[in-house]
Assembly symmetry: C2
Homo-oligomer: 264 residues x 2
């Protein structure tokens, strides 16, 4: 709420928000991936930039009518469902470049809530317009389907982890995947901040907070990583990866680093 001495900076940021997909650093990850300039402009025109969502605020809540999907520009969110008894189950954490809300398409209401873990800026994409645009642009339709398919794959791995893995393996898998996602976004794969609480991690992985805490200490004692509050420094990603033993890696090993190698 306090603005302090950064108004110029603030204005610059707002200007940046008005920027188009072409200029966005997430271009390669996000919806416009692979589109030609003309098509990109069409997409750009239907996208609405909203004011940032502050930590703890909801982007949408379970039961809300579905009207748009959201591309994350900056910050991170968690999505979760709630059962009859009010128990909250976290579905996932979401990073810049990811598209949120697609699971609401069939029912036309949101079936989970999306809450900001820190200040988040998103692009709002009205779904009806996105759908009609997908008819004009073949690549866009395919990309939409492709993004949903990726989401499915990711959930499959998550399922496998919850169904069988030990607690060590769960946390290792979580950290490994997070690390890979940071890397894909141009951040460090070995050093990052956790925007979610231990409680949230425990919930996602189906275990108790105390166990998460103990495992962080254990991993540190084993020299796998250094952890201080939110800050994580991975020291031995190979061991961590081996510990994880997830389903996806059975396939992804082959084409791990084969995707992001254009300019530079």
């Amino acid at each position: 709420m306090s603005v302090k001495t950064m108004p110029r900076n603030r204005i610059f940021k707002l200007e940046e928000l008005r920027n188009h997909c072409q200029k966005c650093s997430l271009y390669q990850l996000c919806l416009p991936m692979g589109l030609e300039e003309g098509d990109l402009n069409k997409l750009d025109q239907i996208i609405q930039r909203r004011r940032p969502v502050e930590k703890g605020e909801f982007l949408y809540r379970i039961g809300d009518p579905f009207s748009a999907v959201y591309a994350i520009r900056a910050g991170s969110l968690k999505t979760f469902t709630t059962n009859q008894e009010g128990h909250e189950q976290i579905i996932g954490f979401h990073l810049p470049g990811e598209l949120l809300g697609m699971d609401a398409i069939s029912r036309e209401i949101h079936t989970c809530s999306a809450q900001a873990l820190e200040t988040v800026s998103v692009c709002e994409i009205p779904f009806e317009r996105l759908e009609s645009l997908s008819h004009e642009i073949p690549g866009l339709q395919h990309h939409l389907l492709s993004l949903m398919s990726e989401e499915l794959q990711h959930e499959h791995c998550h399922l496998a982890v919850l169904a069988k893995a030990t607690v060590e393996s769960r946390l290792a898998s979580f950290l490994t995947q997070l690390s890979e996602r940071f890397k894909a976004r141009g951040f460090s794969a070995t050093e990052f901040n956790l925007s979610m609480s231990r409680n949230d991690i425990a919930n996602l992985l189906g275990m108790a907070v105390e166990t998460i805490s103990r495992l962080f200490t254990q991993f540190q004692d084993q020299g796998l990583l250094k952890v201080e509050r939110k800050h994580v420094h991975i020291l031995d990603s190979a061991s961590l990866h081996a510990m994880a033993n997830t389903c996806s890696s059975a396939i992804s090993e082959e084409d791990d680093d084969a995707s992001q190698n254009s300019s530079s």
Copy 2:
């Protein structure tokens, strides 16, 4: 393998297989849902009817190149992933009217295997042709997205069940959902045969076979159901549903039976 005295019947069945979507009893559940006659014919033309997949055979295996999605006409299958150590994790069981293989879109290889639990007949739909047809037919594109979105929702519930639910709640949730799916297909909601083994159920729900066995006995003792080998007769679906306490039901209660009420 043995044909016995049913050749006439066999020929009739084959003829039926050649039938078009219009005549298919799964019309309301499957891909053609909501399409007009002209569009339906177009879709019909790209669909290939294959020979039945026998019990234990694979429709596709993890790692296979992705070229088509499959609509189940009859029978049931399981899909599962495999991790590095070869551990098999079942993702789901699939019934007539469901579309299989969409999770392979992004990688263009299958990320899980689909194996028949009994003799299965499927419609093979070449994906490239389906995609281009979706450009012509607005409803088809939406329906594709919608089906994937439903799949996502379903996985979210599955996640919630695995992460927190007790073993009772897991099995109750499994049986409740299965019952609802049978009902939606015009079968009895209270009496059905399980095409999968106890082992498969245990695997799906992340527990030991022994526990499944004990729970079936327990449920029977509690008067919730009667079970004899593969045959299940649900006696008290209300209690079973209450026991389940899944995420989806928090929303679906309102519009539970509000979807299927056209003719008759």
